[in-house]
Amino acid sequence: MDTVDLARLQFALTAGAHFLFVALTLGLATLVAVVQTWATLTRDPVHLRMTRFWGQLYIINYAMGIATGLVMEFQLGLTWSGLTEFAGNTFGASLAIETLVAFFLESTFLGLWIFGWNKLNRWAHLAAIWVVTLTAYASAFWILVSNGFLQHPVGYELADGVLRLTDFGAMVANPTAQVAFFHVLGGAMVTGGFFVAGVSAYHLRRRTAEQDLFRKSLRIGIGVALPATLFTATFGGLGFETLQPTKAAVWSGSASRIAAAQAELAAAHGPGDYLPPAGWVHAGAMTMLIAFAVMFFFAGLSAVLMLIRPAVRSLRVWHWLLTLMIPVPFVAMLGGWVFREMGRQPWAVYGLLTTAEAMSPLTQTQMRVSLTAFVTVFAALIVTNYVLLARAARRGPDAVTLGDRPIDTPSTEPALSL
């Protein structure tokens, strides 16, 4: 592999890992916020326990999302300085707004929500999770404005070899960004819905304690997953209208369209191969579409079954399948992401800057060391976090430490050192 391939692999692995955690974060945050709202309004103990249980899983997942996100943010300057120098004046604006308007508040209020449990007034505590949820959406929005610009640049001018932003409104209103935002948000709700339903089904199948809590959770999960699947597919369909000519041509498979798209770019930019890798484009899209079909069918069936009380209580085959469905939205997410990002190759900024030109002047050795170090550390941490997530999900609400006591009371555990 040459240096650019190593840098691409590093970014793809970081972004892909980040995307997996973020998708569940966005979906779960919404469900936790809604359940906590109900718990706060009614003071119902079951919903309070639901908030703590799903909140605990949310935090385990969130921590890994932050870690991968940090590395992603810095990787732009680290390995893609050609991109930041050429286009930083445009898509850098939305990145800056994302960190300041969204992520800054999200982090601050997440700390308040976690550590202020039983310390804050319950309405202030409820407000904290809503701020976290809404700023998470805002974060996704501004990131997709940046990504939308790279996919389909608008509102810029090219002067002295670098891009300048001329129309901020056009960049924000970019259909490639807007459609992707709602598509990703819907996908996150699908991920969160199937996760909640799958974990609940595990507990119902195993007949663990808290059957009432998990029956309620199961219905919430499926009740979210089915409409969210349709919502996501609708915006996914609209997304096909915003594809770049080369991606659309390769996806269509029509030899004449492919030749025309290639000829058009070759005429504008000189000789070269301007087509994305067809194998990746097709594999990504097909994975996404097949996963959608499976999820749609299964969510529809489950929405009927969840209305039948004996099925919710003891239809174990269905419980099994629901748990097995947990990874499917993640697979769909990655498939769609591969389709979107591989499909814009060989461009970093479509039609303006190639991925090879976007690369920092790094040596092969630097890239190898960096890639090896990040992959090793992240692989170990991701495995650890998924094992812990599964462990916390299996152990159920009784083992949750989040919000289990006022924060300032002395611990009842013995000080191990003494």
Binding site: E73, F74, T84, F103, L362, S370, L381
Partner: protein, 246 residues
């Protein structure tokens, strides 16, 4: 104006996030057993997410207002930035994971990750700052880097002295002597600010053309961000009296 925006977030990180780094470095000294260490971590627990985000924001400001410098600074210092990021990730993961499973060995391992990550962060910052400040590279840069790390450590102790009680507070106050805990914290914070400002003065800080759009937005939201953080500081203004969620 743009320079002040960048300075505000970068220096905010050095002072606020610097205290978390220092507490992590001093963890084996402050907490002699798992229970004590958990209480020491409670000193920074409610703040560390809100503190590290100052650096995320500084990087965001760099991306939006100084994109050319962002690329040069990060890709030009790849040998420092990669260890810095890895240390950051390892430190954070140590904080999150230590309490997830009971058991002395599990907690000891992740406490080790917190200490190693914190030292890694402090030394990486030291190397990066001495490169920017003095233009030193290679092994010779380790001397000023170590000095910067010591300042981070002292700052962490000063912060811990303000947050802890009893024996832990006494240990943390080892550097204060008779000069008072708040005054020591102000002094170590000032030292970090001076290092940060001197390094900043050496950077080619020419804002890009997007500044005219972004700077007003940032100036409007910044008071809101500070108010949100001030609320957190107010909620957790009392000394730690027991372990936190972590």
């Amino acid at each position: 104006m743009e320079i002040f925006v960048l300075a505000f977030f970068a220096l905010g990180y050095l002072v606020l996030g610097g205290a978390d780094i220092g507490v992590g470095m001093a963890l084996p000294y402050l907490g002699r057993g798992a229970g004590e260490r958990r209480e020491v971590i409670a000193a920074i627990a409610p703040f560390f997410l809100g503190n590290e985000v100052w650096l995320v924001s500084a990087a965001g400001v760099l991306a939006g207002l100084f994109p050319e410098l962002e690329g040069e600074l990060l890709s030009g210092n790849v040998a420092v930035v990669v260890p810095l990021l890895l240390s950051w990730v390892v430190r954070d993961m140590g904080l999150w994971l230590r309490g997830r499973v009971p058991g002395v060995r599990w907690q000891g391992f992740w406490d080790g990750a917190i200490v190693a990550g914190s030292w890694g962060l402090a030394l990486s910052w030291g190397v990066l700052l001495s490169d920017v400040l003095l233009g030193l590279h290679g092994p010779v840069a380790l001397a000023p880097a170590l000095l910067v790390a010591v300042v981070f450590g002292a700052h962490g102790l000063a912060f811990a002295a303000l947050r802890l009680r009893g024996e832990l507070r006494r240990r943390a106050a080892v550097l204060s002597g008779g000069s008072g805990e708040a005054r020591t914290y102000a002094l170590t914070a000032a030292a970090l600010v001076v290092v940060g400002v001197l390094a900043g003065l050496r950077l080619p800080l020419t804002a890009g053309p997007t500044a005219s759009l972004l700077t007003p937005v940032i100036l409007v939201v910044t008071p809101l961000l500070v108010a949100a953080q001030a609320w957190v500081w107010w909620i957790f203004r009392h000394r730690v009296s027991g372990p936190s969620y972590l």
